[in-house]
């Protein structure tokens, strides 16, 4: 039996929208009247799904609705979803800053949250004083902080500033110190929300490494909310995908991220515009068509690592007698550039031009890719960059029998490889 440290059961959270005033006072009195008579809260029935883009009829929305999941000991659980999906509400309940409306959460061990770095930092106090204050706020005893003090200062790299008020710190130092305290907290369960958005690259690496250590070596459980898919991928074993307050998927990282990205990416193979006036572009060039044309045997066959892919494009040129070339960027879903290729440069006349770029089979790894097309003048200046215009997914084609994990690497070329 696996050791479950967090169990979330039928968890829901309702919020009231709108302002607080006489209207809410009447609702409060009404609610009290129902509860006094031993009836159910009438406002719990009228809540709506929390879709912030739609106009609703009710003042009450469900920020979370019927969420169920278990987290095992030592697991790093990523939580993803668009803004307003309920991620922060879930973390708020887990970190005990608010309570659920219905349902329950059961927890084993100490929980520490890092919802925003520097919680309780007082600008007038020195780094040393803030380490003790912040540590105590996060639930450490004075003795614990004392024994970790050197480590924290070292981690944050602020030795020289330790007796200076933190209001004189750079924002990077501030974040490092705050993360340092929380990272040395040694809770059984650590909740981290978007802290990695701040700080320099070196620190982000350090922070990610610390989180990895915390889970792998010390066997702690980490809940990690982020929009950074690369970080989620490299840290998390499982991912919970929330949307409009509901659980959309809870599965292994790779599966959920691909699902998330294909939901959110511009997952079309074709962008085409017939009217030159409304087509994307500017006074120099207008894009008519950009299309991913896989060379398939059957119409509905999926693109696999063995498929040839043609990237076809058409554009209207409005500049005369200039050297023009095209530059294609291929990105992974995490916005890492796989390659950038350029077409030969040619002096083009005004009017419609077209071209094709062939991506050979057995080059790309499986995954989701996005293509940007840049039109370049004089081999130096970009006239227009049509960003992430089309996207496509390359599927796995391995036959059963071998290894099933995700094939590592950005590309998966077939090279001459001999074995005697």
């Amino acid at each position: 039996m696996t050791d479950i440290v967090i169990r979330v059961e039928n968890l829901s959270k309702q919020y009231r929208l709108g302002s607080v005033g006489t209207g809410s006072l009447i609702q409060d009195l009404n609610r009290t009247w129902y509860l006094v008579r031993g009836k159910e809260d009438p406002y719990l029935k009228i809540g709506e799904v929390n879709d912030r883009t739609q106009k609703g009829n009710s003042d009450y929305v469900w920020a979370l609705q019927d969420i169920n999941f278990d987290v095992n000991h030592g697991e790093v659980l990523g939580i993803i979803g668009r803004n307003g999906a309920g991620k922060s509400t879930l973390l708020k309940i887990l970190s005990r800053t608010t309570t659920p409306t219905t349902g329950s959460v059961k927890i084993k061990g100490r929980v520490a949250s890092l919802l925003e770095v520097g919680t309780g930092f007082h600008p007038e106090l020195s780094g040393r004083e803030n380490i003790f204050l912040n540590g105590a706020i996060l639930g450490m005893s004075k003795q614990e902080i004392k024994s970790k003090f050197e480590e924290i200062v070292d981690f944050a790299g602020v030795e020289r500033y330790i007796d200076t008020p933190v209001k004189r710190y750079s924002s990077g130092m501030y974040v490092r110190l705050a993360f340092g305290v929380a990272a040395h907290l040694e809770p059984e369960i650590l909740i981290v929300d978007e802290v990695l958005a701040v700080g320099d690259a070196e620190f982000q690496k350090k922070a990610l490494g610390k989180m990895k250590d915390v889970s792998r070596q010390d066997g702690r459980t980490v809940l990690f909310v982020s929009h950074n898919m690369t970080a989620i991928k490299s840290l998390c074993s499982k991912v919970l995908y929330l949307g409009n307050g509901q659980k959309i998927q809870y599965d292994h990282t790779e599966k959920v991220i691909n699902n998330y990205l294909s939901h959110n990416a511009n997952s079309s193979l074709l962008q085409s515009f017939d009217d030159q006036l409304t087509a994307p572009g500017n006074e120099f060039v207008k894009v008519k068509r950009l299309e991913i044309c896989p060379v398939l045997n059957e119409l509905n066959e999926p693109i696999t690592v063995n498929t040839h892919i043609n990237v076809e494009f058409e554009f209207w040129n409005e500049v005369d007698d200039k050297e023009i070339n095209l530059s294609l960027h291929l990105f992974t879903i995490a916005q890492e550039c796989v390659f950038n290729v350029g077409s030969p440069a040619k002096i083009l006349t005004k009017g419609l031009h077209k071209g094709i770029c062939l991506i050979p089979s057995n080059l790309l790894n499986d995954g989701l890719y996005m293509v940007s097309m840049m039109i370049v003048i004089d081999r130096s200046h970009a006239l227009f960059n049509y960003e992430n215009a089309v996207s496509f997914e390359v599927n796995e084609n391995r036959t059963p029998g071998g290894w099933h994990g995700k094939w590592p690497g950005f590309i998966r070329p077939q090279l001459d490889f001999t074995l005697d």
């Binding site: 696996t2 169920n68 278990d70 309570t99 059961k106 927890i107 309780g120 996060l138």
Partner: protein, 290 residues
């Protein structure tokens, strides 16, 4: 859920279960004790942070009671000619002001607990009661400083007149300060709980504390009211016996009536109990409404 049924087991132990509602009397006082280090650090923070970048630092605590005493001397002593029960007027006003200041500081600061600390409460959990408790404690430090000023002035007058009162009644002083703390805390946490959703009370508390001072014998002795029709109202004020007893304890004159103190003690116990009940209910969800 069927997925759960195979791992469910009746002896399963959870350290923490988060549910929509808690039991009425679940006051979590044990939790507060666990966070006592934090309490101490908050007191330290309040004190240190207040005087960073000031030149006079804690000396500011002397200036406020000195000037208030001078104003009281002029208004109540010279203009209104109110007697001071045979106590030196300077000492009479100063003693009243120092104990009153403690109460009003406790009340106004604790009544602001939720609204002023929403930022930190919204991010991390610790027993919310730590904040009002730390306010009450850090104000004790300020009270002690003002009390030393009072002692200094008393000794100066003592040397000048050759008469200095010191008796067993001084043992009452810590109890009286504790009572003031309880009253300020009890009222403060009730008001802070009420202000989370509707801010009306925080407007009220601003001037209510000021007016309450005139309903308490701070600038006049209770004996001055004897025979007046509203005297009964003033003696129903639970603050009245404490302030009067404070002067009695210090100077050995005035009226320290035991029944009054018992009455005040009862009111304090009731307010504290109610306050804790309301506070522990509100602290669970106040982030949604604050």
């Amino acid at each position: 859920m069927s997925k759960h049924s195979n791992t469910e087991n009746p002896t399963e132990h959870w350290d923490l279960i988060l549910k929509p509602k808690a039991a009425l009397f679940d006051l979590q006082l044990k939790e507060v004790w666990k966070y006592r280090d934090l309490l101490v650090l908050f007191v330290k923070r309040d004190f240190v942070a207040q005087y960073k970048q000031t030149i006079l630092g804690p000396l500011w605590h002397f200036i406020q009671p000195i000037f208030t005493t001078i104003v009281f001397l002029l208004v109540f002593g010279k203009i209104a000619n109110i007697p001071t029960d045979g106590i030196n007027p300077v000492l009479f006003y100063m003693s009243g002001i120092s104990i009153w200041n403690y109460f009003s500081a406790c009340l106004t600061a604790t009544s602001n607990t939720f609204v002023a600390n929403a930022g930190i409460f919204g991010k991390v959990y610790f027993p919310r009661l730590v904040i009002p408790l730390s306010t009450v404690l850090s104000n004790i430090v300020k009270f002690v400083i003002q009390f030393f000023l009072l002692l200094a002035v008393m000794s100066w007058y003592g040397i000048k007149t050759g008469h200095f009162y010191f008796g067993v009644s001084w043992l009452l002083i810590p109890l009286l300060v504790l009572m003031m703390a309880g009253l300020g805390l009890g009222l403060g946490i009730i008001i802070s709980s009420l202000t989370t959703k509707y801010r009306d009370f925080s407007v009220l508390i601003g001037f209510a504390v000021q007016l309450l001072m005139y309903a308490t014998p701070v600038a006049y002795p209770l004996s001055y009211l004897s025979g007046k029709s509203f005297a009964a109202w003033i003696s129903w004020n639970p603050l009245t016996p404490i302030v009067e007893a404070f002067r009695f304890a210090l100077f050995g004159t005035g009226s320290a009536y035991g029944t009054g103190l018992v009455y005040s003690g009862g009111v304090i116990a009731l307010l504290l109990f109610l306050g804790l009940l309301v506070f522990s209910k509100v602290e669970r969800t106040f982030m949604d409404t604050v």
